[in-house]
Assembly symmetry: D3
């Protein structure tokens, strides 16, 4: 069964055209998904890219409540990719990431709990040297 | 394209029989996968369940090098589900999780970098009250 | 000027009857305040005491959205009193605390941003030995 | 009853002239208080502002013992406003803060435990966008 | 040249009778050293063992200032052995440690900065299984 | 008895020519040691200095497995010197350090567990002001 977090994670994991198409077709009604990429040694750039996209793509209204929900979701996903040692450039590592933003019910058909926003980050983190990196994944979500 | 982390995460995300079958069929050679579940307010139980399964299922040899690689992979995945606030029962929350253990090359066909071990955790974390919980996901990996 | 966090913090700081009375009288409309105490070496007991009081006193409705907002507010306040080293009994220290729960607008008259919930913790933390302790304070808040 | 931490926190919370006057009048003997403000996305600027003021205003002697006590008090207060996720600009958030430095006995009349130094931080933290921020508070103290 | 931290660390590292003798002989005047061992999966036991020994051996006077300095030194050394993931039994690992407590000037002959207290922890941490463990070391110090 | 971590730590602690000579002479076969120094308020410079030296001195082969083991060892040692508050310049402190890199068996003669790599950091951390600093020590190690 589909759910908010699963949609967010599958969106960043599946890059083959047929997979993406399949995921789009199986997207339950009530969910809005955006997917893009960002890479940096400067963690603030990751936060900024997602915040900017979320506003431009209409995932959050122009009020602090919604921005706050998005921000904490990014922060939680960021902790997921950092795995206990928050930081990128300051500990000499870089991240090349796909991210997804998903807005919709926490679980399919669970209308009485309102809308939530999820952020997933997936990609590679490692030394700033080609191929010296491994996969990382983070997921965060909050009611919006 | 498949890779160690993607296999670990898709394994815990896909629970429908047809999905599981599809994933099994698309598993590149050289990878070994195990999947099970564990739930607790006591984080040590999550570590113990995965350690025990990994030994019983032959994912690690009986030496410290390999156990150490597995342990740190669990620890990193655990940080992913905790998102910056390590702890379960001590901060009054509980986790119901699927976990996967995957052993194989870091990326398909990347034989010259040896074998790695990945652990993925996916499920729900929240108040110890039915339905008061949301999805969490963590991924950790190390050379073995 | 009054605001959500200031009300929460003043509520736990002021214990003299005349101060409490003054604070009650100056409470802007739209705010609901509850204040009590909890002490323990077991951090889960602090979370449980506040969650239970919040439900019993009608600060949150019986849905996960609101419980989630309360939970994260407690967690943030808890980090405030722990100051970088989350934990109580596990690092051999104990806390004797007053806590407050406040629900209302983020700032007085700021109606367009909905309601928020704040938790403040104030008291003494230290060795489990009379008088070997110093003051600590934590504040957390989230939209509800 | 007054105490070191309470004085530090009330000092940053009370901004109305009459409140400030009241607090000054009720300040028990033996306490020295300084209050100012600092705002930045660069956490080092917050540390520097408080260190500089403490030296200039005579809160610490020119020796490492006292500077060390002040530094750790700032660090603990900083953890309080960060609530488990240390960092400002690196996680794309900014802080506009009032801070207080207080030196005196841990509790009024408790002369046999020497002098302590407390630092309180209170203000707003959030996105670098007007009004997209909420209150934060941190308190740290050490024997000096 | 000898210094507080170096004395604390050498004390826990050197276990051969001739090394211990050499260290005792080279101990500069003004330093007091105690050394013992503690092992547990329960981190509180490590704190308790050191606190108890420090009191019994006269390293701290019976006041909170000195106990506070000792406590924070233990806490800092504990972070050193935990290396970013505070916890023992809760993350299914155990520690078998030698610890030292040292009181004296921060550096030899540096009398104008008063006395400091240092705690060093050295030993093995790992799975609760014989030989599945590696060395860890932590050092903390504070003015007393 | 000698072991990987002890060699790493003694290497950074002992600076007198006769101590260094003694340590060199007592170095069990199978161990390779490098020792140098680095100082900065920018933590990335510490990571970079050690990574560069390890490559130049032949401590790691040119593959990600080995670089990964080194990186995590540096990261763990870095946590040791930071003692729960990761960061240098961002919390207005600076570090002047000696570091050692050691490669060899985890314990002398323990050949069946392969080679490990250890990193030790020792020196002074404190305010960016001469003499306002105290000793810190960190140790990290991983199988390579
Ligand atoms: Mg949550
Ligand atoms: Mg890694
Ligand atoms: Mg917030
Ligand atoms: Mg303290
Ligand atoms: Mg210090
Ligand atoms: Mg390890």
């Amino acid at each position: 069964m589909m759910s908010l977090g699963k949609i967010a994670v599958l969106s960043v994991l599946q890059t083959e055209p047929e997979e993406v198409k399949l995921l789009d077709q199986s997207l339950p009604s009530g969910y809005k998904v955006y997917k893009s990429k960002v890479g940096s040694m400067d963690s603030a750039k990751i936060f900024a890219a997602i915040e900017t996209a979320a506003k431009r793509e209409g995932f959050i209204s122009s009020n602090y409540r919604e921005e706050h929900a998005l921000y904490h979701s990014i922060l939680e996903a960021y902790h997921g990719i950092c795995r206990g040692n928050a930081g990128l450039g300051n500990v000499l590592r870089s991240a090349g990431l796909l991210y997804s933003i998903v807005r919709g019910p926490r679980t399919v058909g669970c209308a009485d709990d309102g809308e939530w926003i999820a952020v997933a980050l997936y990609g590679y983190m490692g030394a700033p040297m080609k191929g010296f990196e491994h996969e990382v994944l983070g997921l965060g979500m909050n009611p919006i």
